[in-house]
Symmetry: C2
Subunit: 322 residues, 2 copies
């Protein structure tokens, strides 16, 4: 076991798009678990857009990071030392220790990963918070029905890719919106979406009108901004929208402006709801078993983007946001 821990802290608060200079790699002695706690060595570090939101000042569901704080985030890691009867050294767990190589958490806040359910890295992806976010956000917030037209933005992302496939499993017509032709091909050819729109090269509103002549019944919003505006122009009556992410705005310096869309909710009698997945925590295991079953049956595909090297965490994060 290394004698030292390494952690990425937020050195300065990003203004606009983050740069590597906003982060600093610091060393410190290994933390020691106290009674009821475990020491974890990180094996896989999750990199997610919501982390940018945590770097902002202002009101959110969790307090913002302070300068000098270790950046937040979940890891899959190995229990190195346990002072709890709940877990033993050698167990593989998912836990929120942030961007660091070692961390100490209360054993009860870590989730043991069953390595027989798939590669342990899926505990940060399709069987982790992204997969669970897709599952509950689509099924509980949007209430999709067979033959509904479902649109998902950031369609090839960790959440969006699962949303679209769960939509297909539930009999929906699924249209993905993504930022490159490669991503569009991926969601159609490999994930089985019915169609995809490249918002960077195509007219989103016109394409949605063409692809969804009866309107959009369900929209799973990961991005906000002009992509979401285009969806609003094409809502069906009684549409349901889940606001899962607003990546387009996370790095905004000034409050972003756009068309006032609430009137569309009135004329289409539609509903929008913002959610975070924690509210469904009591049902995580049920959902995880379903997701694993769909993977087993070949109905749910996933692809993981794994970057090597703890020193590359900030650049991976910056790449994700772009």
């Amino acid at each position: 076991m290394a004698a030292m821990n390494r952690a990425w802290i937020m050195k300065t608060r990003p203004e606009g798009e983050p740069t590597v200079d906003n982060f600093e790699l610091v060393e410190s002695p290994l933390p020691e678990p106290k009674h009821g706690e475990i020491l974890i060595r990180s094996l896989y570090q999750s990199i997610d857009p919501y982390m940018r939101l945590r770097m902002r000042l202002g009101r959110s569901h969790t307090p913002p990071l302070n300068i000098g704080d270790v950046v937040v985030g979940e890891v899959v890691g190995r229990v190195e030392e346990s002072k709890s009867p709940l877990l033993s050294a050698g167990d593989v767990v998912a836990a929120t220790i942030g961007w660091q190589e070692y961390g100490v958490v209360a054993a009860q806040s870590a989730r043991k990963i069953d390595p027989t359910m798939g590669p342990i890295s899926t505990g940060l992806g399709v069987l982790g918070l992204p997969g669970l976010t897709a599952y509950f956000g689509l099924l509980d917030i949007c209430d999709p029905k067979a033959d509904d037209t479902l649109v998902v933005s950031a369609a090839s992302g960790a959440v969006g890719a699962v949303v679209g496939q769960i939509g297909k499993i539930n009999g929906c017509r699924v249209i993905g919106i993504a930022g490159s032709d490669e991503k569009c091909s991926y969601v159609v050819d490999e994930l089985g979406f019915d169609a995809a729109i490249n918002y960077k090269t195509q007219d989103g509103s016109a394409e949605l009108r063409r692809l969804c002549p009866d309107g959009i019944d369900v929209y799973f919003d990961n991005v906000g901004g002009p992509v979401t505006d285009a969806v609003f122009e094409n809502l069906a009556f009684g549409a349901r929208i889940a606001v899962c992410g607003q990546v387009a705005h996370y790095s905004a310096v000034a409050p972003p402006q756009g068309p006032r869309n609430l009137g569309v909710l009135l004329t289409t009698q539609s509903r929008i709801e913002g959610f975070i997945v924690r509210q469904f925590e009591h049902r995580y295991e049920i959902a995880r078993r379903k997701l694993a079953k769909w993977i087993d049956e070949g109905r749910l595909q996933y692809k993981e983007d794994i970057i090597d090297g703890f020193e590359n965490v900030p650049s991976a994060f910056i790449g994700l946001l772009q």
Copy 2:
């Protein structure tokens, strides 16, 4: 019975705020009811903001008015002639004949008014669609709980005034937003709201922050625009918003722009829903009896703004929008 009917038609489509020149008073022979129909003489003409929305081209839950159409709307009137066993001459009914002195409708589409429940004009107000809109929009869409902080815009209006009082009956703290000190005094002193904000003279966001230190749990939106922006800046976690009207935008020539607010839904895990009252039609009678009971018990006050003269309908409508 007069030999002629008079009707206000939409002569030209309003651009921006309507003017009297957009309307024309036309005469025509009295319409004749056919089998199953009734001839109604209008006694009270309802004047509502939604009529402006019907004068716009574009997608809505109902098709837009065409040039030359009689302007839409509900009246309380007297059955002059009935060719249906459902109603008899002399009955008082509410029916959608639009801005005209006489109209023919299918008897089954008219609603008989019980004059013992209150003045028959309340069939267009507290016991009519405005009261029902308040009842279902607040109780079904917003799900208010005791001690919730409820904010209602256009608070002294036909819908808003009832929303706030039903909020009080359900144990909410109620803050009204209105456009004059007189209206603010009315909702506080006569209707029992806890406080009111004059959005024309006060800083809405700062006042809401001061009056709602724990945030706004429920917002009943009749107006949209900057008033709604101020509410979004002060939402509590798990807030529920009903979009009932967007009067601030009805006369807009260009699509109105404003801050992109959906991110707030995410960080507060809140929900917005647009609705029209028709979806609750099967429960109208239950609601109407409750509203009448609250009036009887002195818990629900109402004030009607009655303008004399059919020739004054367009100017009354224009005044309402301003």
